[in-house]
């Protein structure tokens, strides 16, 4: 076995040092009654070349975004990934290290996280960001719990425009806690959170209002008005960003009054990878930093006065505070955060805006062309970023299967998340979709409806 270096002679010599006659004797504390009395029933071991053949066989049975024109989004986005990222995160000093418990030999990881925290703050308009969480949905659940801790209140209002998987993750986390969740409808005309309904639902027990920015329908929410309403009742406004490329172009949630900003960082240089691993980012204002969940990296000095970085404010965390911790999380998405940091460094001040502008322009182009087709409507009037909802007279399932036959992944049927939208598709256009692909999509849609 090539990952295990022991020769028979090594084993003999080591057993002698230990003072036992056989490897079996090392397991003397395990009673016979609970021992496995047969070999594990698993497939035989493969050589490296056989393994690669088996992997290729599995891999080729999946549709990729490079072979198929894809207009799928809904919280996972097909953006270009510069080659630099994979080269740098393949440095094994990064990927074979663990949590930086020993700061003197982990400054690479620690400084990169400090840079990551800084860029997340700059993008979101917040004062402090944690070292990352599992993904956008779990970060959203942590955001709800944090708002309850910070306000000592127990009612939370979730916009129905918030990503449905984020909402269901919040529900799972709150299942057995004393937190009451209530859904705020979206305005049928604009696709934005219904401000009247929000105003009516807010009261002195409300810890937070949680809204997507952009929301699940791709609509740019009026976070400013929501924040104002929330603040009038002493509640926090939590902005959940499922497509952070938007932050290159849109006003930051912080500027609009949000108190907690969290979201999914996959768009920042992480592969789609069938849903993970992705990157939950999480940021808040100075007043709330001691109730933040997750790891934090802070700046300090060493014995000789040199700048260095350490994990800090650990008294919030599970290994110190145990059942009174701010979260049970004990890792972060270290390597994913590093990928995002490298992506953002390459794109920089102008690149992120440009790529956001491309997404927005291409989406406007597609939306206008599809909206002009017979049999198709754009049901929501609210401004969108890189996703939009299309209502198809022939029904979403029929449209999607027709597109699939022409080699296109045309979007996502909204019906599985929103039964009331049984004719609706969610279409996403990124900088990876050429004008040719968009035109082909429009032609294919037109072809079927005529």
């Amino acid at each position: 076995m090539r990952y295990i270096p022991h020769t028979a002679e090594d084993v003999r010599r080591m057993l002698q040092t230990v003072g036992v006659d056989s490897v079996d004797e090392l397991f003397v504390e395990i009673p016979d009654s609970v021992r496995l009395q047969r070999p594990l029933n698993l497939d035989d071991s493969l050589s490296e070349s056989e393994l690669l053949v088996a992997l290729q066989e599995l891999a080729q049975r999946n549709a990729t975004v490079s072979q198929t024109a894809s207009f799928l989004g809904a919280g996972a986005y097909n953006h270009f990934i510069p080659a630099v990222i994979d080269h740098l995160v393949s440095r094994s000093e990064f990927y074979t290290a663990y949590t930086p418990y020993q700061p003197e030999i982990s400054q690479g990881t620690l400084q990169a996280i400090f840079e990551y925290q800084t860029m997340i703050c700059q993008l979101t308009g917040m004062d402090a960001a944690n070292a990352s969480m599992y993904d956008g949905a779990s970060a959203c659940a942590e955001g709800v719990l944090m708002a309850c801790r910070a306000t000592r209140r127990r009612r939370v209002l979730l916009s129905r425009g918030l990503h449905p998987e984020y909402r269901s993750t919040v529900q799972t986390y709150c299942r057995y806690l004393d937190v009451e969740l209530e859904e705020i409808p979206v305005d049928a005309a604009t696709g934005r959170t219904d401000l009247k309904a929000l105003g009516a639902a807010l009261d002195q027990d409300c810890a937070a209002v949680v809204s997507g920015y952009p929301n699940f329908f791709g609509i740019i929410e009026d976070i400013g008005s929501q924040a104002k309403l929330a603040h009038e009742h002493g509640a926090r406004l939590v902005a959940a960003v499922q497509e952070p490329i938007a932050l290159g172009l849109l006003k930051s949630p912080g500027e609009l009054g949000a108190d907690i900003v969290l979201g999914e960082g996959q768009s920042f240089g992480l592969p789609l990878s069938f849903g993970g691993p992705y990157l939950g980012f999480f940021a808040a204002r100075q007043k709330d930093i001691r109730t933040l969940p997750g790891r934090l990296v802070g700046e300090t000095l060493d014995l000789e006065g040199r700048r260095g970085f350490v994990l800090t404010l650990a008294t919030r965390e599970q290994h110190i505070r145990r059942e009174r911790a701010t979260s049970n999380i004990c890792s972060n998405q270290g390597l994913c955060a590093l990928m995002a940091t490298i992506y953002l460094s390459l794109m920089g001040k102008t690149g992120l805006r440009e790529v956001a502008q491309h997404n927005f322009s291409k989406t406007q182009y597609a939306k206008e062309r599809i909206g002009a087709l017979q049999g198709f409507k754009i049901p929501f009037s609210g401004p969108t970023f890189n996703e939009f909802v299309v209502k198809a007279e022939e029904g979403s399932a029929a449209v999607l299967s027709r597109l699939e036959q022409q080699g296109m992944l045309g979007g996502i049927a909204l019906e599985c998340f929103y039964p009331e939208f049984d004719q609706h598709l969610l279409v996403c256009v990124t900088e990876q979709n050429s004008r040719g692909q968009i035109d082909a999509l429009v032609d294919a849609l037109a072809g079927g409806a005529s």
Binding site: L26, L46, V65, E165, G276, G298, L303, T312, S331
Partner: protein, 488 residues
């Protein structure tokens, strides 16, 4: 000896301090549609302080930062409880295949049959290894799996109309255990173990208010809980369930299965036992296995096989719901699958045997010099204390001095039941020569403590940075860089 020494040490500023107005590290294609204008009131101003760098600037920056890190590929990394085994390189190639890396999570099931078959296969392999028949691959890490597992337990009791509100946790537990129990709305009942938990001690705290016992086996002292079958019986007899923290599964593969011991729920740490990289703190992956009785409560979706092939099953009315977005850390699952296929059943057993041999070898070589508080036969790790160190030196000093010798220190001050704990887990991928070098360094440090304790207290000296002031970091936290003209 392959010890630490001074090499070329590079200085490196923060990204933001390298920034030069006008520099770019990207080039987009020419926009092939008309440029659209976002309504002005929605558009942000330029982001103050955001970096402007060339591609070369970025590559140099992160390459130089990487040289300040120590990974498994740099050398021995005996961090107890973390199972820092070698991360096979072919697995890194595997997860990057375009047929895995470029698949959108919302493609229809029929267009992801290879991915779903791999997940189904992994579910079955983990079920065979653990003896727990039903699996979810969704949780993002060990602590997340723990939360999923405990929510399943609570859902099970509630479905039977039982409002149990307590969870028993022995003092050797990971800190995540009590934090998780609290997140499930449970009250924690601590129980003292004296190294090994007895069925009698559990019986003392067990009543029909107890939802579950959370146990780690082998425990955090590296000792097998020999009364596990009796303990499970005590808990089951009063209607409770037993949760096992799977952090230490590397000690049991092919030898014994938690499911056969009476465990009802266990999480796996694919980034420990199944060789996926720790990534500087993540991403991990924390699948959960449960008994057949608990299967209906697992998070959605699970991968099932039927006559049409493989599919994601969302129609599970008794499920606790979703733990996160999509279907789990797929890229990590691919690596774990590749590892299991490479090792085979016999290879996994060999991994466990050699991991246990390595831990016992280190124990035998260090026991004459270090105090060993618990003397039963160790499995995959061994815990010493700093009690017998001379010169006023402590565990932290040993850890820092080990850095000068070129090693990553063991886990320190954990488990809490041992004062000044040094928790050493060598894993099976270390050769006897690597273990000898480490043991010689440890023995040299014991002598230094006696003869010249300042060598320990001033350590480390070899890295580019010395001991850091953690109090200062916490007292006035600086969690981000700010541009000079920025407020705050």
């Amino acid at each position: 000896m392959r010890a630490g020494t001074r090499g070329l040490i590079l200085k490196e500023k923060l990204l933001f301090e390298h920034s030069t107005p006008g520099r770019k590290g990207y080039r987009l294609p020419t926009l092939d549609v008309p440029e659209a204008q976002l309504p002005e009131n929605l558009e942000r101003a330029e982001i103050t302080g955001f970096p402007e760098l060339s591609e070369v600037d970025v590559v140099r920056h992160f390459t130089r930062l990487s040289t300040w890190n120590y990974g498994v590929d740099s050398g021995f990394y005996p961090l107890g409880s973390c199972t820092m085994k070698y991360n096979p390189k072919v697995n890194e190639a595997a997860c990057r295949l375009s047929g895995f890396a470029q698949v959108h999570p919302m493609v229809p099931d029929r267009l992801a049959q290879g991915a779903l078959e791999m997940m189904h296969d992994l579910q079955e392999a983990l079920a065979e290894i653990s003896g727990l028949p039903a699996l979810t691959l969704q949780p993002g890490a060990g602590a997340h799996g723990e939360l999923a597992g405990m929510l399943v337990i609570r859902a099970f009791h509630e479905a039977r109309g039982q409002k149990r509100h307590k969870v028993i946790i022995p003092d050797t537990a990971h800190g995540t255990n009590p934090a998780t129990a609290a997140l499930c709305g449970y009250q924690v009942v601590p129980v003292a173990s004296d190294g090994i938990l007895t069925a009698a001690a559990v019986a003392e705290h067990m009543d029909n208010e107890v939802a579950a016992l959370m146990i780690t086996n082998p425990n955090t002292l590296g000792l097998f809980e020999g009364e596990i079958a009796e303990i499970c019986k005590v808990v089951h007899d009063q209607g409770g369930l037993v949760y096992c923290d799977g952090a230490n599964l590397n000690a049991l593969m092919g030898i014994a299965r938690p499911g056969d011991m009476g465990i009802d729920v266990m999480h796996f740490n694919l980034h420990k036992t199944f060789s996926t990289p720790h990534g500087g703190g993540g991403p991990g992956s924390g699948p959960v296995g449960v008994s057949a009785e608990l299967a209906p409560f697992l998070p959605v979706p699970v991968v099932v096989r039927d006559e049409d092939g493989f599919r994601l099953d969302f129609d599970r009315p008794r499920s606790i719901g979703r733990m996160k977005g999509f279907h789990g850390h797929f890229g990590v699952l691919v690596r774990a699958w590749a590892y299991i296929r490479t090792m085979g059943g016999a290879g996994l057993r060999e991994a466990t045997e050699m991991a246990v041999l390595n831990a016992n070898y280190v124990r035998a070589r260090l026991e004459p010099a270090f105090h060993l508080p618990y003397k039963r036969r160790s499995l995959h790790e061994v815990v010493f204390s700093d009690r017998d160190l001379q010169g006023g030196c402590k565990t932290l000093d040993v850890a820092k001095r080990l850095i000068d010798y070129g090693f990553h220190p063991p886990t320190v001050y954990f488990p809490l039941v041992v004062a000044g704990a040094l928790m050493i887990e060598p894993t099976e991928t270390e050769s006897v020569e690597a273990l000898d070098e480490f043991c010689e360094a440890m023995l040299a440090i014991v002598r230094e403590a006696q003869e010249d304790p300042e060598l320990l207290k001033q350590a480390p000296r070899v890295p580019h940075i010395r001991r850091l002031d953690e109090t200062r970091a916490a007292r006035k936290p600086r969690l981000r860089w700010r541009a000079e003209n920025e407020n705050g």
